[in-house]
């Protein structure tokens, strides 16, 4: 019971605007019988519910109050402290006399990462506490302490990073911002750079298929980001960062509360690096492009006493990058003698979430999000222009049915208008071969309407299971659409998608928790944006058929246990296995020839098996250690041959050490990653076949003072880098050129210092 509450304290919200719920049961402590019609309310508020005949209750978590009171004549008033309520199940035992105050020991410090024991999905949460130990300029650098997510560069000129979850690229997982779809479509290639690390309050990474509430995607997992909330955040905070390559960053956060209902927040981020360096390969190519970014968020939160809750967020990003040859300047765009990379991106994102209670046991939530995205980029002489507009509407109802079980149902609508244009590769004269329609357009428009429902079965706090189903109908595509809802080229057009998903959580024995999930998922590929790295090469893109919507099944099991070591120490152990198997997939085949990239529909098997184990312990006060290991077994059929998927480590090991002195005055963090070998695709370079394993380390020291803190750290302590990331750098406009073969860090040892200041 106490443990459960502790868990609740450490949990974060993963639910939608309809709010978090605390469910539980009131029983007579003497007889153990359920108590009927007992009021349960949040202390100091008017929101309360009555228990049903089984003693069960479900109460919306009140944003202000954390004290759950149960008062009944003849019984002592009981109170429970519930900080965060995501999927919390509590049991209240009322005693006939005497006062009982269950006090929960509140630890002064949050853990850096933890796995959520109470949620039905396997979720790993990276907290602010964890992010503070990393320089984490942006989301791409926030997963260093997690073995679940792998991060790598997509090519050696653009500086953009890609994530992998369960051995597959990040596009098969769903990126959410406060439970609303966020980075998708064309935003994917540079998307990790659009989320400043300092803005985030937490990152939740769930493995396996998600529930059906957020669409039919999320095949390998969900990454949900929570930005700082204006009601809770400090009035002002500032972060300044500078590294040894003269990259500067500034993050400012301002929160203002008009009254107890209305609050607003302004988040501003800017980055600028003044110089290009060429430490790696000494090939005349910049290690990292010049980069400027301005990123602004304004958000509004309104909470009415009636329970109505509204959150609205506006985000604007402007980014400019310039890389490639060290001599290249902006004006030289289109030059056929000096290779340059450049790009300008503008992105507007908006969401509004509104929720209210329909009754004591039901709530309604709405999510509306819109994105406008435009990118104008070039790699050497190939031009890329992408424009995307999308609108997303999701309406959902959560209601309790008899016996504490719940149902969720709703409708969703999505409109995406994607326009990708790829200019010529004059050095080879090769645009995509046998192209349909007018040459180089990869346009499509998708109109999707969906219906979904799920049922959550609850058996005390021992077992719960969620069975969900969604049906999505797609308006038939226009003729010139390249990516469409046909199962295969031109024939067998299918306008619907049926997505079943099942999750369960079972407390098997003494808090050994077994979780499982299985389900189907779909997604529409964006052929160029998702394979952006190949543009940084002289490879000829060969596309001979219409690419179908991708379809895959994912299933997995997870066993976790939290131990008590001694009086007050905790240790946790998690072991999980997930398998993803594709029914149809857009395959990028780099192994036909070293100067070609073929894109076609999967013909044969494509799967990923991933086994991972995590262990963490706090052996001494202030000292914590976590250890993780992972095996990736990822295969795909390339031109009738089953081969390992390139750029996927066969295994990975991780050791995270953290030590802090009393009152957090000093803090030391050290992360060591052991990256296993990867298979390289055919290329024109000297390195073929498998890569060597390598060690990547980073460390940081933080000193905290009364009003500010200073930090200094080193990235890539061992200094291991890929020796010659740009293949054929002396002939960048020929088919010998390939900067897309990246398997190791592209930045050498990097020192940084920073300052954080805040006014509560």
């Amino acid at each position: 019971m106490l443990r459960l509450l502790l868990l609740a304290l450490f949990s974060f919200s993963v639910l939608v605007a309809s709010g978090q719920q605390v469910r539980g049961r009131v029983v007579d402590a003497g007889s153990g019988k359920p108590m009927y019609m007992i009021p349960v309310a949040w202390d100091g508020t008017a929101s309360g519910v009555l228990t049903d005949s089984g003693g069960h209750f479900v109460i919306e978590k009140h944003p202000k109050s954390h004290l759950l009171l149960t008062r009944y004549m003849g019984y002592a008033t009981d109170s429970l402290i519930v900080h965060s309520a995501a999927d919390t199940v509590v049991e209240i035992r009322l005693r006939r006399d005497g006062k009982v105050l269950k006090e929960v020991r509140i630890r002064g410090r949050r853990r850096a990462t933890f796995s959520k024991m109470t949620s039905i999905e396997q979720t790993e949460v990276i907290t602010t506490e964890g992010l503070r130990g990393l320089a984490c300029c942006n989301l791409g650098e926030s997963f260093e302490n997690s073995a679940t997510v792998d991060v790598g560069y997509s090519d050696a000129v653009s500086g953009s990073k890609q994530i992998q979850l369960l051995g597959l690229t990040g596009v098969y997982s769903q990126m959410l911002l406060e439970n609303v779809p966020f980075l998708k479509g064309l935003s994917a290639p540079f998307g990790l750079g659009y989320v400043p690390g300092q803005w985030m309050e937490s990152i939740s990474v769930s493995k396996g298929v998600a529930t059906v509430k957020n669409g039919y995607e999320a095949i390998t997992g969900t990454i949900n980001l929570e930005y700082e909330k204006p009601h809770k955040g400090d009035r002002f905070s500032l972060n300044l960062y500078e590294n040894s390559d003269l990259k500067s960053e500034i993050t400012a956060k301002l929160n203002h509360r008009f009254n107890e209902h209305l609050a607003t927040g302004l988040l501003v981020y800017g980055t600028y690096n003044a110089q290009r360096t060429d430490h790696i390969g000494h090939d005349g190519f910049a290690d990292y492009p010049l980069q400027q970014q301005l990123n602004v968020v304004n958000r509004w939160d309104y909470e009415a006493p009636s329970g109505f809750h509204s959150q609205t967020l506006f985000n604007y990003i402007h980014e400019y990058r310039l890389g490639g040859d060290m001599r290249f300047e902006k004006e030289m765009r289109g030059s056929d003698s000096i290779y340059g990379f450049g790009g300008t991106t503008d992105r507007l994102h908006f969401f509004t979430k509104n929720g209210f209670r329909l009754s004591n046991t039901a709530s309604f939530g709405s999510q509306v999000a819109a994105t406008w995205f435009r990118q104008d980029a070039y790699y050497g002489m190939s031009d890329y222009r992408g424009e995307e507009k999308n609108l997303y509407v999701n309406l959902l109802v959560n209601a309790e049915v008899a016996g504490g079980h719940t149902v969720d149902y709703g409708v969703s609508f999505r409109y995406s208008d994607v326009d990708e244009r790829l200019g010529y590769f004059p050095y080879l004269g090769a645009v995509t071969q046998n192209w349909f329609g007018d040459g180089d357009n990869f346009d499509y428009r998708e109109i999707l309407a969906g219906l979904f429902g799920q049922f959550t079965f609850l058996y005390g706090d021992r077992f719960n299971a969620t069975l969900g189903l969604r049906y999505d109908y797609s308006v038939p595509p226009e003729e010139r659409q390249q990516v469409m809802f046909a199962h295969y080229a031109g024939s067998d057009f299918r306008s619907y998608a049926l997505t079943p998903r099942l999750h369960f959580r079972w407390n098997v024995w003494h808090d050994w928790i077994l979780r499982g999930s299985i389900g189907r998922g779909f997604r529409t590929p964006n052929l160029i944006a998702e394979n952006f790295g190949i543009l940084a090469s002289g490879r000829r893109i060969v596309l001979n058929e219409w690419i179908a919507r991708e379809e895959a099944w994912n299933g997995g099991l997870n066993l976790s246990k939290r131990f008590k070591v001694g009086d007050d120490r905790e240790a946790s152990l998690t072991v999980d296995f997930y398998r993803t198997s594709f029914v149809s997939q857009a395959v990028l085949d780099l192994d036909v020839a070293a100067d070609e990239a073929h894109i076609y529909n999967l013909d044969g098997q494509s799967y990923s098996n991933v086994l991972q184990a995590d262990f963490s312990i706090e052996p001494l006060d202030g000292f914590s250690l976590s250890l993780a290991g992972k095996l990736n077994d990822v295969w795909c059929t390339y031109h009738n041959q089953l081969m390992r998927k390139p750029y996927t480590s066969f295994w990975k090991g991780l050791l995270v050490l953290s030590y802090h002195t009393r009152f957090d005055k000093w803090r030391f963090d050290l992360t060591t990653q052991l990256n296993g070998p990867q298979r390289l695709p055919l290329n024109k370079g000297t390195h073929q076949g498998q890569t060597d394993p390598y060690i990547y380390m980073l460390g940081q020291v933080t000193r905290k003072f009364k009003r500010f803190e200073l930090y200094a750290g080193i990235e890539n302590i061992t200094g291991y880098v890929q020796p010659h990331p740009v293949i054929g750098y002396d002939a960048p406009f020929s088919s010998a050129f390939d900067a897309s073969i990246v398997y190791a860090p592209l930045m050498g040892r990097l020192y940084y210092i920073g300052l954080r200041f805040n006014v509560m």
């Binding site: 954390h66 009035r235 000093w666 050290l670 009364k706």
Partner: protein, 121 residues
């Protein structure tokens, strides 16, 4: 890691000797009427730990107060009370910062707001 631990130890030792060498200390008892549960201890201690001129302190849960030994000239009881209030602790003379109150453990919040008094520890 070993090196880091040695550095930590050195810093810890030097700061202890530094504190002992100082004279001109005074003692003040600061009343904390908002003290309601042990959850507040961490906040009080953390505040005092970061306060310039504070040498040591003793918490008296029964008396709802804290005895602070401080260096004269570096700080005074008024400054200490202000620092506590800035972190959400209600003292005899200072009202706490409302945003900081929300970061306190739930059991301490009503008393910090001045909404309720509590009798039980």
């Amino acid at each position: 890691m070993k090196k880091i631990l040695i550095v930590v130890l050195l810093v810890a030792i030097s700061s202890v000797t530094y504190a002992q060498n100082k004279k001109n200390t005074k003692t003040a008892e600061i009343s904390i009427p908002g003290y309601c549960c042990k959850g507040l201890n961490a906040t009080i201690e953390k505040t005092l730990a970061y306060e310039r001129g504070v040498v040591e302190w003793t918490l008296h849960q029964d008396k709802k107060s804290v005895t602070v030994v401080y260096r004269e000239g570096k700080t005074d009881p008024v400054k200490i009370e202000k620092a506590l209030a800035a972190n959400g602790v209600r003292t005899a003379n200072e009202k706490p910062n409302p945003r900081a109150i929300e970061k306190l453990p739930a059991c301490c919040q009503p008393a910090a707001r001045g909404e309720a008094s509590c009798n039980k520890m």
